[in-house]
């Protein structure tokens, strides 16, 4: 199963490193990263593969949300199907 991670918030050093580390520890494989800075705001969208993940989607949501709150970031993890079904026939 693939998931989409979106991260929005104030830019700072180490956001990508922090998220990547959590994903690596849980065996979640990053397939695609798209990141930019708009008006000082950090925007990143990641598509990840959770086939070998050690944690469930819900648990990953909890971990990233909690870590995001510590750093003032809004981190969402969603099942990829909601985007696929809306934008692909």
């Amino acid at each position: 199963m693939k998931a989409v991670i979106t991260i929005v918030g104030q830019d700072r050093v180490g956001i990508v490193a922090m998220v990547s580390e959590i994903l690596a520890v849980n065996s979640v494989n990053i397939l695609n990263i798209n990141q930019n800075i708009l008006d000082g705001f950090f925007n990143m969208v990641m598509i990840v593969d959770m086939t070998s993940s050690k944690v469930s989607l819900k648990d990953l949501q909890q971990v990233l949300k909690g870590k995001g709150q510590e750093l003032g970031l809004d981190i969402k993890v969603q099942h990829e199907d909601i985007f696929q079904i809306m934008h692909r026939i």
């Binding site: 989409v4 979106t6 397939l31 695609n32 798209n34 925007n43 969208v45 598509i47 989607l57 819900k58 949501q61 969402k76 993890v77 969603q78 099942h79 990829e80 199907d81 909601i82 985007f83 696929q84 079904i85 809306m86 934008h87 692909r88």
Partner: protein, 452 residues
Amino acid sequence: MLTIQEILETNRMIEQNNFDVRTITLGISLRDCCHSDIKIFCQNIYEKITRAGEHLVRTGEDIEAEYGIPIINKRISVTPIAIVAESCHTDTYVPVAQALDAAAKTVGVNFIGGFSALVEKGYTKGDRILIQSIPEALAQTERVCSSINLASTKAGINMDCVREMGQIIKRTAELTKDRDALGCAKLVVFANVPEDNPFMAGAFHGVGEAEKVISVGVSGPGVVKRALEEVRGQDFSAVAETIKKTAFKITRVGQLVAQEASRRMGVPFGIIDLSLAPTPAVGDSVAHILEEMGLESCGAPGTTAALAILNDAVKKGGLMASSHVGGLSGAFIPVSEDAGMIAAVERGSLTLEKLEAMTCVCSVGLDMIAVPGDTSAATISGIIADEAAIGMINNKTTAVRIIPVPGKKVGDSVEFGGLLGYSPIIPVNTFKSDDFIARGGRIPAPIRSLTN
């Protein structure tokens, strides 16, 4: 691979434009619960509903979390109670409403629909008992919704019931006057009622439905409004095309949610209801879509045409996005539940007569309209007769959900709270229709009923 723009577009629809799935509704047949002893019957329906609906709320919450799409309501609809309670030896179905209410509370759904009767051609004993039980049933319960179908294109209009429902609505208002006649917000009178509608207050589980079924109602007026901002000044072909594309995207998500809920609960998928259902929240208004098309205020000349475009384009776009479409499917115009409608009434641009015209082209009818408390039962029946006639002749669903608020008059307003919103009291034509309503009997089915 998905693009970043597509991902951000979906999340913007959810976070900024109030896109949500309005309801997952589990329909449950109660046809195997009948019993001559009403206590045993009530026990049967309580047990069946709580067993069938045990995982509904949890399933909805799981899907909401995994996909990041808000699912606002989880609800239950049941077989019309007038049918399944008919074999009980009793003269009131109030205890049945209480059993439904208790089951809804146990399962954790916010509404349960099906305290209903289908009387478009005439009454049975159970229909009469049910209708007479409505005021007390709605006063004594919190989550039960009631609906009556009193007209259809095939059968004509049951004018005896039209007369009776005027009185029942007044009585319901009286018994719930301490809550601004809230009981009337849970009571809707239909013509051509769909038997698979997942939206309240009119949801029930039709007699032709399976044992259990999952239906989903989508929403998203804010998303349509936002999309139309991109085509300001362009012609109506562009307007219709934009609405269709947006409705397609919205409905696809509804289809995903319905399929997942169906799979996880092991209950067949019924239909998606492609409705634009507003809420009182800012940015979630159907009236604001009509105004975005170029009207100064909802109700201005052109409003009916604007609503016709919207209603038709929503269906065309949504139809392709789902394997099964049904229910009411279109644009709702509930006054108290739509910030733009409320504002239009307050500034005097939207009247009851204009709303009646709009119901010729919207998906349902006169909805959540608060009128003066001294509006007579016969006048309410006259309003119901007009709506039923529009539905019967035009082969569409129409409905009336009207609230004569005791003690309130034009200039006052009423607060129902939550999704039901608030409304200024809308003036009603004060010329009488008493003698017209007193006639009773049946208005014959129209010529277009003879289609065979």
